[in-house]
């Protein structure tokens, strides 16, 4: 029941927030923030109390929905979903906070879309029914489309359309694969169901399994994004409002990674093993190519967007090394990347609000004017390049450690990606905060609201880096991922 509540609260909250906006924008913002904070408290509560009890599935909920097709409202939560939800509501609440001043028109509709997207994401992380998975998967696209298309920057419609069409195309292939799986399972066992647990043990020919796996994988690679499918990401990120970028980078990309861990690997273990070297190669390509492209950008948000491509490459490498260490690293990377990249986007957004440009050629020497922002940026840039003591280091270290056992050469090249990361990370700091000052900007440092956001993020990334044990414990408990 509590799982249903986690989905319903943001949904109802979004509607309320939309209605309230006709009265006052402040109410709308408060309702949105309140709903997400309630959810955050709930998931923290679960995290604090439940892992001690052990066991694979913390909660389960099942109710009939379309029994005719064997579709049920089948929700379940394990450690992986729990961690993802903590991240979702944490970043969700921060997204409401950062749009407090940035979004000043159609406030109600904005919050409705934001919460609606978060509902879809929550649903994806919780559902154990493949039809429902697809349902939520598609459900988060529309509000995301509006977030980019209405509140975005100059080129917003192009970016929004591109995002929508890419993800929808991937999603439809996944739908075909889901349906094929459904019918194969039905033909073999006589039971037609979309239930994840039932479909896990579908006997089928390897040939078929490989095709189906590719169907799922395409959808997830597009969302992740892996290299040939990544072109929607920089556009979407660049044009989206700050909150949209944070949700995109922090959460939406994670649904792709989550899908790989939750669906591709467990459902098609042999097929995954068969394709693993190639997919790892894609991951490495993403790491290096994304990093190099990031280095070449002059638009700050675009730069950060490309670093996402690079970082998600590690997820791909780790996920297909079939190794518990790497899996822990992958989950860690999902969280750490969500926080560090989210934070970088917030800083980019804050800078844009002050100097109205995202071109790093026109920045420079900002440290002396905004030291607090500068030091915050320093922390996250260091996180991004994988400095020990911050969450990303733990994640990438674990992934490399794990993938070394799977494929040495791939690991070597992945490690080179760390060098590329250093280059572009330092370039951000150098171009933006150090060096000669170009403009005569008079700009205020972070205000209290922004300070709260940044401090929360800094705390989170430091905790992940210095004391990752709680996260790792929770990941280890979910041995369901590793078969």
């Amino acid at each position: 029941m509590i799982l249903l509540l986690l989905i319903l609260i943001p949904l109802v909250g979004g509607l309320l927030s939309w209605i309230a906006a006709s009265r006052s924008a402040l109410w709308s913002r408060c309702i949105a923030l309140g709903c997400l904070l309630i959810n955050l408290v709930i998931v923290f509560q679960i995290w604090a109390t439940k892992p001690a009890a052990g066991g694979k599935w913390l909660y389960q909920f099942k109710a009939a929905w379309v029994p005719h097709f064997g579709i049920s409202l089948n929700l379940a939560m394990d450690g992986l979903s729990l961690l993802m939800l903590v991240l979702t509501f944490f970043l969700g609440a921060l997204s409401v906070l950062i749009s407090w001043k940035e979004i000043n028109y159609r406030v109600g509709f904005f919050h409705f879309n934001l919460l609606f997207a978060l509902t879809g994401i929550t649903g994806v992380f919780l559902t154990m029914d493949l039809f429902l998975f697809y349902f939520f998967w598609e459900m988060m696209l529309i509000p995301m489309y509006f977030l980019i298309g209405i509140w975005g920057h100059a080129n917003r419609e192009y970016a929004a359309n591109k995002f929508f069409i890419f993800t929808q195309a991937g999603g439809l292939l996944m739908l075909l694969a889901i349906l094929a799986l459904y019918f194969i399972h039905g033909a073999n066992t006589g039971v037609y169901t979309y239930d994840y647990f039932a479909l896990l043990h579908t006997p089928m020919q390897q040939e078929t399994a490989r095709w189906l796996m590719l169907g799922f994988l395409t959808a997830f690679l597009v969302k992740l994004p892996a290299v040939p499918f990544h072109t929607w990401l920089p556009d979407a990120h660049t044009e989206a409002p700050t909150a949209g970028s944070v949700v995109l980078a922090g959460l939406l990309l994670k649904t792709g990674a989550y899908g790989i861990l939750r669906l591709v690997l467990p459902l098609f273990p042999e097929a995954s093993l068969h394709f693993a070297p190639w997919i790892m190669l894609l991951g490495v390509l993403g790491i290096i190519y994304g990093g190099m492209l990031a280095y070449a950008q002059t638009d700050l948000k675009r730069l950060i967007a490309y670093t996402s491509v690079s970082h998600m490459g590690f997820v791909l490498v780790g996920a297909f090394s079939f190794n518990p260490l790497a899996y822990e690293g992958v989950v860690m990377q999902m969280i750490a990347h969500g926080i560090s990249t989210g934070a970088l986007f917030i800083i980019a957004g804050a800078l844009y609000e002050r100097i109205h440009t995202r071109n790093i050629q026109e920045m420079g020497g900002l440290w002396s004017k905004v030291p607090v922002m500068g030091s915050a940026a320093m922390i996250f840039v260091m996180g991004s390049l994988g400095l020990p003591g911050l969450g990303n280091f733990v994640a990438e270290f674990l992934i490399l450690l794990g993938s070394w056992q799977a494929n040495r050469w791939i690991t070597v090249f992945a490690a080179i990606g760390l060098v590329v990361a250093t280059a572009y990370s330092l370039r951000i700091m150098q171009k933006v905060f150090f060096g000669p000052s170009h403009g005569q900007h008079v700009l205020p440092d972070l205000n209290k609201r922004e300070l709260v956001i940044i401090v929360a993020l800094v705390m989170a990334i430091l905790l992940l880096g210095l004391y990752p044990q709680p996260v790792l414990n929770t990941t280890q408990k979910t041995d369901y991922v590793v078969r």
Partner: protein, 480 residues
């Protein structure tokens, strides 16, 4: 005619009688409101007449007609759609036309034609139904005589429909010449006995396909659609998009099942090629349009292509999928045209993309409805269209139509683009300082309430489709 025949054909007879009575009413006194109210009543009574008819199913009126669960379901669908279109018509004609009463003769008459199609299983009744439908449509399409495109559309439809009827007749004659039967089961039996399709019959089928394809608006018989949609009064366009196509589709299904169409690869391939062509041509041309009526016309061509995919899957699920998709498509199309009706003023129809620019900020309610309808056409979750498309894909996977499914997926993505474009247009924020001239819509109350109900049904079916699915599954008993 026995008592059972009488009750079974109740809906048809009720509506027919009502047309005669309303003709007398008009002869006595011209009054828009009374005629309108009477027509609404007639539709409601015809709908209620379905209930006693259910007692006698399955029932045949040999050799022409058949009343089974399938036909009753579609009768209900056609009548409900007609009722809703009628509800949306009042204001539209009140504002535009001096002599508006005859509209209420033609619309129920056209509906009756569709009802005959739904229950027919014989060439005679098929042709009769088709002609009742078409001839009423000539008048309906050209109803707003004062408009420039109206006559053109009416005459175009007249000529093309007459031509297609001629093809249909010739095709029927060829089939009859060889098989010696005009009833569908008889033809099926004769063909089965022969064990193959002789060239004459194949040619006959081909010619019949031209006639049927014209009514369905599938490629390559689709040329009329955009012009007629553009020139016809909006409620009539909604009628053509839904009832006229739906009725024809039901006959096609019955005919195809009765002659065991899936046994003959030639027929299957013919339809498969048409399906793929319809999807591509429809979607591709829709991309190019700036006029929303034309976009809807081309998109309906594509939708017929999607339906054909389910049709060709040759499994039980396919038939269920068609029925569900039709329901979703009826609701969505009428809803979309309803939005156009509500947004039009007495001077001009709101039809260009520009008319909808920034509409969300001016008329949030109507824009929300339109968004829901477009998302349903695109097949996005929380709408009936999503479940419908899902159902079709499911039928396709069940029948292993991988190639057709890939075509469907590609086309869904293409389709997405132009639906999204309209939505983006509505959510566009007008640039500051820019003074735009917008149509001042009439926003009739009845129209708004109808739209609200349609949206509720649309989302209801999208979130909880079980009840409708069960109904469809139960009524999928066709007398073969």
């Amino acid at each position: 005619m026995s008592f059972a025949d009488f009750i079974s054909l109740g809906p048809l007879i009720t509506l027919f009688t009502a047309v005669v009575i309303s003709m007398l009413l008009i002869a006595i006194k011209r009054n828009h409101r009374i005629t309108y109210a009477f027509s609404l009543l007639a539709y409601l009574m015809a709908l209620t007449a379905i209930i006693p008819a259910m007692l006698y199913i399955p029932h045949t009126v040999p050799p022409l007609l058949v009343v089974d669960e399938f036909s009753l379901f579609n009768t209900g669908l056609v009548l409900a759609a007609g009722f809703i279109i009628l509800l949306l018509s009042y204001n539209y004609f009140e504002e535009r036309e001096e002599r508006k009463e005859e509209y209420y003769l033609l619309l129920p008459l056209a509906t009756t034609g569709a009802l005959v199609l739904v229950v027919s299983r014989h060439f005679m009744s098929l042709f009769l139904g088709l002609e009742i439908l078409s001839i009423s449509l000539y008048g309906l399409i050209a109803y707003l005589r004062a408009r420039e495109r109206s006559d053109e559309a009416g005459i175009k439809y007249l000529i093309l429909a007459a031509l297609s009827s001629a093809f249909l007749l010739f095709g029927m004659a060829l089939v009859y010449a060889f098989t010696g039967h005009m009833d569908f089961p008889g033809i099926g039996a004769a063909l089965r006995q022969a064990g193959y399709i002789p060239v004459t019959v194949l040619a006959g089928f081909g010619m019949m396909l031209i006639g049927i394809g014209f009514k369905l608006g599938i490629v390559p018989f689709h040329m009329w659609a955009p012009d007629i949609y553009e020139g016809a009064p909006l409620p009539v366009a909604a009628f053509i998009a839904t009832i006229s196509k739906g009725g024809m589709l039901v006959v096609l299904i019955r005919f195809y099942l009765d002659i065991h169409g899936n046994d003959y690869t030639m027929i299957w391939w013919m339809l498969a090629i048409i399906a793929v062509a319809s999807m591509f041509v429809g979607n591709w041309l829709a991309l190019m349009q700036q006029n929303i009526k034309r976009i809807l016309a081309y998109s309906s061509i594509a939708h017929m292509g999607y339906i054909l995919v389910a049709f060709l899957s040759g499994v039980q699920t396919g038939l269920e999928a068609i029925s569900f998709y039709l329901v979703a498509y009826f609701i969505t199309s009428i809803g979309a045209f309803g939005v156009l009706i509500v947004m039009s003023s007495s001077i001009q129809d709101a039809e260009t993309l520009h008319d909808y620019s920034g509409m969300f900020w001016r008329y949030p309610w109507v824009a929300t409805v339109f968004t829901a309808m477009l998302l349903s056409l695109a097949g996005i979750p929380l709408t009936a269209g999503f479940i419908g498309k899902f159902y079709i894909v499911m039928a396709g996977v069940n029948g292993h139509m991988w190639f057709l499914l890939f075509m469907l997926v590609i086309n869904s993505v293409i389709g997405l683009y132009y639906y999204i474009r309209i939505i983006a247009m509505m959510f566009k924020t007008p640039a500051t300082g820019e003074e735009l001239t917008y149509i001042k819509p009439s926003l009739p109350v009845a129209g708004n309430i109808t739209l609200m109900l349609l949206t509720l049904v649309l989302i209801g079916l999208g979130v909880y489709p079980t009840a409708m699915m069960q109904l469809i599954q139960q009524m999928m008993k066709i007398i073969v």
